[in-house]
């Protein structure tokens, strides 16, 4: 193994203390012979040493009492006449959704659908030609030209 591979193992499995005995032996043997990797290893252990030797802090004396007080306060709130049990909130939301749905449906029924006028083919032509004549200001019938006949 070259130095790069050794340093990679050092930064990972070796310092994680999750290395197989065989691999640890290989790395240790390399460290004994390689001052560069040994220096790298020393630098790496130096930065984690303050953590490995960190003192454990004792929990503040009033911690439990504070937690207990807060639990008891919450319990008291829970029995208040103004306090609603938690399931009431999703139920209220569901009820609101249902009411909104039915209200929207009622509203939709009040809106009249657009009137669809179905005309026969002949009636449609007559209607359109009348409209066209009116638009052009011309009476095609007087000119012996029956627009309707052209289409019909």
């Amino acid at each position: 193994m070259n130095c790069e591979q050794i340093q990679d193992i050092l930064l990972n499995d070796y310092l994680n203390k999750e290395i197989s005995p065989e691999q640890k032996k290989v790395v240790d043997e390399h460290l004994d012979q390689c001052p560069t990797c040994m220096e790298f290893f020393n630098h790496a252990t130096e930065v984690i040493l303050p953590m490995e030797t960190a003192q454990k802090h004792s929990v503040p004396d009033d911690d439990w009492q504070n937690i207990k007080n807060r639990i008891e306060t919450q319990k008291e709130k829970g029995t208040s006449i103004f306090h609603f049990p938690k399931p009431i909130l999703p139920l209220a939301f569901a009820a609101l959704l249902l009411i909104s749905f039915f209200a929207a449906r009622e509203f939709a029924e009040t809106i009249k659908p657009p009137i669809v006028c179905v005309m026969e083919h002949e009636d449609a032509i007559l209607y359109l030609t009348d409209e066209f004549e009116e638009f052009m200001g011309t009476d095609f019938e007087n000119e012996e030209y029956f627009l309707e006949e052209f289409f019909l």
């Binding site: 930064l11 994680n16 454990k56 929990v59 503040p60 439990w64 937690i67 639990i71």
Partner: protein
């Protein structure tokens, strides 16, 4: 710490989940040290750690009735503790970042150099706090759980709800970062 789960029995957990405060106190006494120390290291502030610790146990108390024993109680509690500590640390660091920005803008106050120069003069505790403060919150959490609490990478992954390889990457990156910082300190001292 490995046999915590053996001592906090299902019976105690079930009793606590029904609101039995004596049973809950047993759980608290067992895990309080871990929760407080991890919170302290992740947030880097004693008062904040105190608040985090209380918040963790209140959350545990509230959610106990939903605990189904599908996973280890220890892992479940660790996860609540780490989530609370990490979220608080993130909020706090945003506030500090704002404060730091205004501090840097003032001329003649080389805050960064001060920290580096003092690193070797202060005791282990302060050095530890300085090192941890140089890491991102997630990296800090991984390093604390690995090198202070002695958890395996798999346990860290479970506590942080991360892939084990992500944990390993974060640990490596954190070590590299701290080594670079150390080099800079040595350079400054020369």
């Amino acid at each position: 710490m490995n046999n915590m789960d053996d001592l906090i029995t299902q019976d105690i957990i079930k009793k606590a989940s029904t609101g039995d405060l004596d049973a809950f106190e047993k759980i608290y006494r067992y895990y309080a040290g871990f929760v407080f120390n991890v919170s302290l290291r992740v947030t880097n502030d004693r008062e904040t750690a105190k608040d985090v610790s209380q918040e963790v146990f209140l959350t545990v108390y509230r959610k106990l009735k939903n605990f189904r024993f599908d996973s280890s109680f220890k892992t479940w509690l660790y996860r609540i503790a780490m989530n609370t500590a990490i979220n608080t640390a993130k909020k706090e660091s945003k506030i500090k970042e704002k404060a730091l920005k205004s501090h840097i803008e003032e001329p003649g106050k080389p805050w960064q150099n001060d920290v580096n120069k003092h690193m070797d003069q202060v005791d282990n505790e302060q050095r530890l706090n300085t090192l941890l403060s140089k890491l991102q919150v997630q990296e800090r959490a991984c390093m604390v759980l690995k090198h202070i609490e002695g958890l395996s990478c798999q346990d860290i992954a479970d506590a942080l709800k991360m892939n084990v390889n992500t944990v390993k990457t974060k640990l490596r990156r954190a070590r590299e970062k701290l080594m670079t910082l150390r080099k800079d300190v040595v350079k400054n001292e020369l």
